[in-house]
C-alpha cells in the first residue's frame, strides 16, 4: 500500500501489470458485461471490419487499471474518482503496464487527497489509455 507521505508532485509510480490478455478473458468480459459487439471476441468479424485482431473493450482496460490502482493504494475505498480516455486500440495478447504520476496533493495534508495522472502502456510502449484519479490516502504515523 501507499501513504499520503509517499506522494510528492511529479513522482511516478508503476501501479502494476496485467496480461497477456487472452481471448478467453475477453470472452468472459463480454459475457459478464453483456457487450456482445463481436469486435471484442470474434476474430473473423474483427478482421472483416478491417481491425488487426479482436479489440480489448475500454471498460475492461479501465477495470484492470482500477484493480492495479487498488493494489497500489491498499484499498478500494481510497479511490474516490477515476476517469479514462481510450485513445488507442489494444488487441488480444496485450501486456499492460499501468503507471501514475502525482499531479497534486492536499496542501495542508489534512484530507490526504492526492491527484494522479494515470495511463496504460502496452508492450510496444504505446500509451493507449490516459486518465486521472483522485485518492484519499492515510498518513504514516
Amino acid at each position: 500500500m501507499h501513504y499520503f507521505d509517499d506522494c510528492t508532485v511529479g513522482k511516478e509510480f508503476t501501479l502494476g501489470q496485467r496480461g497477456p490478455v487472452t481471448t478467453e478473458m475477453m470472452a468472459r468480459w463480454a459475457a459478464g458485461s453483456g457487450d456482445f459487439n463481436p469486435i471484442h471476441y470474434d476474430r473473423t468479424e474483427a478482421l472483416r471490419q478491417g481491425l488487426p485482431d479482436v479489440i480489448i473493450a475500454g471498460p475492461m482496460k479501465f477495470a484492470m487499471l482500477l484493480d492495479c490502482l487498488t493494489d497500489w493504494a491498499g484499498s478500494q475505498t481510497a479511490i474516490r474518482k477515476a476517469k479514462t480516455r481510450y485513445q488507442g486500440m489494444d488487441v488480444a495478447g496485450t501486456v499492460f503496464t499501468f503507471q501514475a504520476t502525482v499531479t497534486a496533493t492536499d496542501p495542508d495534508g489534512q484530507t490526504g487527497a492526492v491527484n494522479l495522472d494515470i495511463r496504460a502502456v502496452n508492450q510496444h510502449g504505446e500509451t493507449t489509455t490516459v486518465g486521472e484519479a483522485t485518492l484519499v490516502l492515510p498518513r504514516r504515523s
Binding site: R18, G19, V21, M25, M26, R28, W29, A31, G32, S33, G34, A57, G58, P59, M60, F62, A63, M64, L66, D67, T70, D71, S75, Q76, T77, I79, R80, K81, A82, K83, T84, R85, Y86, G131
Partner: protein, 153 residues
C-alpha cells in the same frame, strides 16, 4: 446548435432527459468472481469473506467499476437515439466512487443523456454523446456516478 449540426432536433430534445430507474439487480458473488477472473485479478476482496470483512465489507467486495459491467444502466440503446452516424466507440469513462458495493446489495441505475454534440474531426464528422448514470443501493443511497462518452462516426 449550429445550423449545420448533424444531430436531428428530436435527438437534441432528449438531452437532459432520463429513462427513469432501471430494473434492480442483486450483486452476487458468482458475477463478482467472473469479473475478477476476466481481468486476471488476484485481489482476495473479491473472493474471500474473511478478507472482505476485514476491510469493512459485509460480503465479498464488488470491484469498483462492477456497476458498469453488470447493472442495467440505460445506454444509447435504451434511449434509441436517432443519429445519422452508426459506428460507435467508447471514448472514455468518468466515475465517482461514493460508497462501497458488495455481495447482497441491490443496485438500481438511472441514466440521463447529458450531452450530444457534432464536431468535425480530422477523419470526418463525429458525434459525441455523454450520459450520466447514478447508481443507488437498496437503502436508496447514491453509491456511484458514471459518465461514459460515446464517439460516433
Amino acid at each position: 446548435m449550429p445550423e449545420d449540426s448533424l444531430i436531428p432536433p428530436e435527438t437534441m430534445a432528449m438531452v437532459g432527459t432520463s429513462t427513469g430507474r432501471g430494473a434492480p439487480k442483486v450483486v452476487d458473488r458468482n458475477t463478482i468472481g467472473q469479473f475478477a477472473t476476466a481481468i486476471g485479478s488476484a485481489n482476495p476482496l473479491f473472493r474471500s469473506d474473511a478478507a472482505a470483512k476485514a476491510a469493512g465489507y459485509t460480503g465479498v467486495a464488488a470491484p469498483l467499476s462492477y456497476p458498469i459491467y453488470n447493472v442495467p444502466n440505460g445506454t444509447d440503446r435504451d434511449f434509441d437515439l436517432k443519429l445519422p452516424l452508426t459506428r460507435r466507440v467508447r471514448g472514455g469513462d468518468d466515475c465517482e466512487f461514493i460508497a462501497p458495493i458488495q455481495e447482497g446489495d441491490t443496485l438500481t441505475a438511472e441514466t440521463t443523456l447529458t450531452e450530444a454534440r457534432h464536431r468535425k474531426g480530422s477523419t470526418g464528422d463525429l458525434i459525441i454523446t455523454t450520459f450520466e448514470t447514478r447508481y443507488y443501493n437498496q437503502r436508496g443511497e447514491l453509491v456511484m456516478i458514471e459518465r461514459p462518452t460515446g464517439v460516433w462516426r
